[in-house]
């Protein structure tokens, strides 16, 4: 597979020219060219998608993916169902990796510093410069990288070893405290394995495991298995202890709004209660004596009874405690992690829900302190050259760290990167490298699980990039290292050949193994498992107490964004425009404050305030949020870039500028919980870019819930949405409709019209289980990716013009920050309901909205004239309008467009189509293959992507279909069905709560 030849061939891709075209018009005066392949790639049939397995490179979780390509372009990323981490699902950031691949701000050629700017140079010049300057630096060189795949990591380590230099593997969201805590508690240097699906009671001390913590997609799935109500009406409980209710917390059944930093003492106090009840705490028994529920309660600002009750329940159930997360990381981060592990151990969870038996051989990611040592070395003039790859310290470090100044004293700075960032802007040489979807690589997300990443397409021709491995191989050779391989591809294969041999040649010859590994995307290796250890005494002194904070005023919580991560996603319009699952704001930053605090301070939603810490200040609008303590404010990480591309620059603020940049005592991770801030009104106000109108459903039957006891008693028929019918003799009687949305119910009474041919046609329908939905919004981005849904930008969003086909509605039913208690946040993915009796259809003057014979609510873009009457008349408000030509995106972002979906022009209404292109594709395929289309064969993008498996789609007229079966559930309801007789095709299953809920007549 020589790269050179094939790359050129790939470029001559059929039909690429048509990619960006839309509804602009039919006739053209230009001669359109038809470019044949010179040599056709054997795995590509024009018009048929080719799938490659790969690994997502957006965070360190390592989700296995399948990448859909058409005519040589990657157009969609989906979870690899064979992969144990992703399980077929993917998060929003994973979907958006395509926008990293096609990002118009990727660098198009190597650049060298020239005065204040850069000048383009050739790769040859760049490489000789690199070899000369870095080679000349000898051991006065440092390599700052992110957490890379094992093979690349090995190559990088080899380079620094040859040079006698130092490599820092830096991740802003550091797992180091957890790893160290596991070592302290169990003597194992591992990240423990959390089996959420085995637990009946999950207690999270602020770990945002549905968003950013370790492996959100995997935990999303296993959380659902534990927490969603099952066929026997059993449901696991989830308690969240944190000063701020994150998205993960919003999925909890109970919220304990404790004082920031008091997680450790509460965990220890819980363990204390268990020990008093007879549990064995091993070497920690003495330590626990000091942490009584009473003292912890005082420390945490919560009633002691809460701790005691929770501890008792924790001891009784199959329980699991997780955390604390990054947002709670303060000076006691390692101690807090240790406390939670001790709690698990005391409750006897080790070996069942918490597993530490597998040694993880991958080196730990370095911490903030390690990086600061490099910064110090730079500052002292101790470094001649420094190379950055996959790390952006200029953005991620608090300004107090003095990174920019220190970097100035380094002779030669190199950034190996895909696009300009704050660090690269300070460097002398910038080398553009491939995106992970164009490059070879591997991943080792956890012991025994490997994935090989293959290029899914030829490099995007707009950018003269090189594989990152090749760049470092060249460097290695320049440094005199003896490397056997000409390219990283060969290097990777060589390493794997060694590994294959070392493992005893599983799967036959190496070639067979390799091909199979690329095909399936998963390599599993049996790791030697050790017995689950018992607690051991910590080998160093630890402080569990609440850390003291600098400054005075409100405690500042800086949390990682579920959309932008640590800031890496900031230049992707899909992620910027994805409304934050918690606040429903997008594009800009905000400060979350308790509504009562906001009122006390005389502020309003959207008022600009100056948040001032002893170390800096930022100006952000206020977003009142009941899920944050009254003495706490919270700002999300990830925004506020200055030099990261057109979609990121100047959007929001970087809360890092408020932090002192102090390191934690034990492992030296960055203290996120470190300061108190002053909130000063500026007198300014800004309109927030949000999709949220009201977070109160005003007792309307939109997202109802049922208490689990009521569910077990059975929801009465009267509550199950009967249709009423006028009787001949007067009066109304319910129409006999046995199950909500059961197949035999179609056509529903009152909808006898509007069915073309009821016998033969399918009736496409969907069921969404709101007890499973976590509101993570992965479906929103998956849908954007599949359906060419455009991003509109901050200004348009501020006007209320988002184009998302899925609107993740979120209603606060019960959120109380003043005391521990039940929390009830209702998520509702609102999509086109494909009503049988659709109000949007008859009002369209030109039949652009109509009902298809298979029950879809068709929207024919090219017929639409844009009266917007259909959107006015849609009770669910899911129709969105192209106010401008939003589909005009800069090259090569348009390469992502799905060629099977029309790109919409301005002035056209659009909405969820139930992925009709997938239905038609499957139907075409089935017909050509001469078979009947299976009832569950069509999987829309949202269902495919949902980590919680909350969405089921299919032909509800077929009683065997999953959607028909799921819709038989007694929790099923249809929004506003009997109120306005719309006969929707989307069946929602009510959320199940532990606390009593106000019953709403649906």
């Amino acid at each position: 597979m020589s790269d050179g030849m094939k790359r050129r061939d790939f470029l001559k891709v059929l039909g690429v020219s048509g990619a960006g075209a839309g509804l602009v018009g039919c006739s053209t005066d230009q001669v359109e060219k038809l470019m044949p392949y010179v040599v056709p790639p054997e795995d590509i049939t024009p018009g048929v998608a080719t799938w490659y397995s790969s690994v997502c490179g957006e965070c360190s979780a390592g989700c296995g993916t399948w990448v859909k390509t058409r005519e040589g372009r990657a157009i969609k990323v989906e979870g690899n169902p064979n992969h144990p981490v992703s399980g077929g699902a993917l998060c929003a950031r994973g979907h958006a990796s395509l926008q990293g691949l096609y990002n118009p701000d990727r660098l198009s050629q190597p650049m060298r510093r020239s005065g204040n700017g850069f000048e383009a140079i050739s790769w040859e010049e760049a490489e000789s410069l690199l070899a000369e300057r870095v080679g000349g630096a000898g051991n006065r060189m440092a390599l700052v990288t992110g957490k890379e795949g094992p093979t690349l990591s090995g190559l990088l380590d080899g380079i620094v070893e040859t040079a006698g230099a130092r490599r820092v593997e830096y991740e802003p969201l550091s797992e180091a405290p957890l790893r160290e805590a596991a070592r302290l508690a169990f003597g194992r240097d591992v990240i423990p394995t959390y089996r959420l699906d085995e637990a009946d009671l999950i207690v999270s001390f602020g770990a945002d495991f549905l968003e950013t913590w370790l492996s959100p997609v995997e935990y999303g799935r296993s959380f659902t298995h534990a927490h969603a109500v099952d066929a026997d009406d059993n449901k696991g409980r989830f308690v969240f202890l944190s000063p701020r209710l994150s998205l993960t917390g919003q999925n909890a059944d109970e919220w304990v709004p404790l004082q920031p930093g008091s997680e450790a003492v509460v965990a220890l106090a819980m363990a204390n209660v268990l020990v008093r009840g007879g549990a064995d705490a091993g070497p920690y028994a003495d330590l626990l004596q000091a942490y009584t529920p009473e003292s912890a309660a005082q420390e945490a600002g919560i009633p002691a009874s809460t701790i005691e009750e929770l501890a008792v329940a924790f001891g009784e159930a199959d329980s699991l405690a997780l955390g604390p997360g990054v947002a709670a990381q303060g000076a006691n981060a390692t101690a807090a992690n240790l406390a939670v592990l001790v709690l698990n151990a005391v409750a006897g969870n080790v070996g069942s829900t918490l597993q530490v038996g597998v040694e993880n051989r991958a080196a730990p990611a370095a911490s903030h302190r390690d990086l600061m040592e490099v910064v110090d070395a730079m500052d002292r003039g101790g470094l001649e050259a420094v190379i950055f790859y996959g790390a952006n310290p200029a953005y991620a470090l608090p300004p107090g760290a003095g990174f920019a100044d220190a970097l100035g004293s380094v002779g030669f700075k190199v950034a190996v990167t895909q696009q300009m960032d704050e660090t690269a802007a300070l460097c002398d040489l910038v080398l553009p490298v491939r995106h992970s979807l164009e490059d070879w690589g591997d991943a080792n997300p956890r012991p025994g699980l490997w994935s090989i990443r293959q290029p899914t397409m030829v490099p995007v021709p707009h950018f003269d990039s090189r594989p990152v491995g090749d760049v470092f191989l060249t460097l290695a050779r320049g440094l005199g290292q003896d490397v056997d391989s000409g390219s990283f591809h060969e290097y990777l294969q060589a390493r794997w050949e060694e590994r294959h041999a070392a493992l005893g040649s599983p799967g036959g010859t190496f070639d067979e193994f390799w091909r199979e590994a690329l095909r399936t995307g998963v390599v599993t290796v049996d790791e030697e498992t050790q017995a689950e250890p018992s607690l051991q005494a910590p080998d160093r002194a630890l402080t569990f107490d609440r850390p003291s904070l600098e400054g005075d005023g409100m405690t500042l919580v800086v949390y990682p964004s579920s959309r932008l991560g640590d800031g890496r996603g900031a230049n992707k319009p899909w992620l910027q425009e994805l409304p934050d699952p918690v606040t429903k704001l997008a594009w800009h930053s905000w400060v979350e404050m308790n509504p009562e605090t906001v009122e006390e301070m005389g502020l309003r939603r959207g008022d600009m305030v100056r948040v001032r810490s002893p170390h800096g200040e930022v100006e952000v609008p206020v977003s009142p949020y009941p899920g944050v303590r009254r003495d706490t404010v919270a700002i999300s990480m990830g925004a506020g870039h200055e030099n990261y591309g057109r979609y990121a620059d100047g959007k929001g603020v970087n809360p890092m500028s408020l932090l002192p940049g102090t390191a934690e005592d034990v492992v030296g991770s960055l203290n996120h919980l470190a300061v108190r801030v002053q909130i000063e009104p500026t007198g300014q106000w800004r309109r927030l870019a949000t999709i949220e109108g009201s977070s109160d459903q005003y007792d309307r039957p939109i997202a109802p819930a049922v208490q689990i006891e009521d569910l077990r008693a059975g929801i009465q028929d009267a509550e199950r949405y009967p249709l009423y019918e006028l009787q001949g003799g007067g009066g109304f009687l319910p129409v006999p409709v046995p199950g909500g949305g059961a197949p035999e119910d179609y056509p529903l009474a009152g909808a006898q019209y509007g069915n073309y041919d009821p016998e033969e046609n399918p009736r496409w329908a969907m069921a969404i289980d709101l007890d499973k939905c976590t509101g993570c919004s992965a479906c929103v981005v998956a849908c954007q990716s599949e359906n060419n849904v455009a991003s509109v930008g901050e200004d348009q969003l501020m006007m209320g013009r988002d184009l998302h086909w899925i609107r993740m509605d979120r209603y606060f039913e019960e959120v109380d920050a003043t005391q521990p208690g039940p929390v009830d946040v209702r998520f509702l993915p609102m999509i086109c309901q494909h009503c049988g009796n659709a109000p949007c259809e008859p009002v369209c003057p030109v039949y652009a909205a109509y009902h298809t014979p298979d029950g879809l609510n068709g929207q024919i873009y090219n017929r639409c004239v844009g009266t917007r009457y259909c959107a006015n008349n849609c009770p669910y408000k899911i129709r969105v309008f192209n106010w401008h030509r939003f589909s005009d995106v800069p090259e090569p972002l348009n390469w992502q467009y799905n060629p099977d979906v029309t790109v919409r022009d301005e002035g056209v209404m659009e909405k969820c189509s139930f992925c009709v292109q997938r239905i038609r594709e499957r139907q075409n395929r089935a017909t050509v293959e001469g078979r009947i289309l299976g009832a569950d064969e069509v999987v829309p993008a949202c269902q495919q992507s949902c980590p919680a498996e909350a969405i089921v789609f299919g032909n509800i007229r077929d009683p065997e279909s999953r959607v028909a079966q799921v819709s038989q559930d007694q929790r099923t309801y249809r929004i506003y069905d009997i109120l306005i007789n719309t006969q929707p095709a989307v069946n929602y299953l009510r959320k199940v709560t532990f606390h009593p809920v106000t019953s709403i007549e649906v």
Binding site: A751, Y847, Y850
Partner: protein, 180 residues
């Protein structure tokens, strides 16, 4: 209204200031057997119409047929187009007659009005842009007028009748055309 004998006719146009003079003149002319009378007035004056013996106008037939055509066409058209390519909207029947009442109603009015206008123009014999008929511009301002045609031998009688009622002016029209 024609009692004409022979082809050669002459005409006389008399202008009057007073309505009663005009009406009396017409009455007298008709009593004397002169039926080829055209009266002019600055506004619709029913005394004159009575004197000339008008009853119904055929314009109403135009209105009726136009309106019925519109109604039929309205229903036919809406029903035909919705059956031409049956598309269901909002669970309504393909041919949703109640909804089509409205376009059909509007077409009833439209066709009725158009037919009425065509009918009235036809019946009024306008547009008629021939400028050479005898006419007194004061008719549109405030004067009444009577134009009578008769065979030349009876012109004397006519003139004397016209002059009895104190016309402000009498014009002679040797060609004796009808005013339509």
């Amino acid at each position: 209204m024609s009692a004409a004998t022979g082809t050669a006719r002459e005409g006389l146009l008399a202008s009057y200031e007073y309505l009663d003079s005009t009406v009396d003149t017409i009455t007298e002319l008709r009593e004397k057997g002169f039926e080829e009378i055209t009266a002019f007035a600055p506004f619709p004056e029913h005394h004159i119409e009575h004197a000339l013996g008008y009853h119904h106008s055929p314009v109403r037939l135009f209105t009726l047929v136009g309106g019925l055509t519109g109604a039929a066409a309205g229903f036919a058209f809406t029903v035909f187009t919705s059956m031409d390519w049956p598309l269901v909207t909002g669970g309504k029947p393909i041919v949703a007659i109640p909804a089509y009442v409205i376009p059909a109603f509007e077409m009833t009015i439209l066709f009725g009005a158009l037919a009425t206008v065509i009918g009235v123009l036809y019946n009024m014999r306008i547009p008629d842009l021939k400028g050479d008929v005898v006419y007194d511009p004061d008719f549109s301002s405030g004067k009444f007028g009577i134009y009578v045609t008769a065979p030349p031998e009876q012109m004397g009688t006519v003139r004397s009748i016209l002059e009895t009622h104190e016309p402000t002016q009498i014009q002679t029209d040797p060609k004796g055309r009808s005013h339509g």
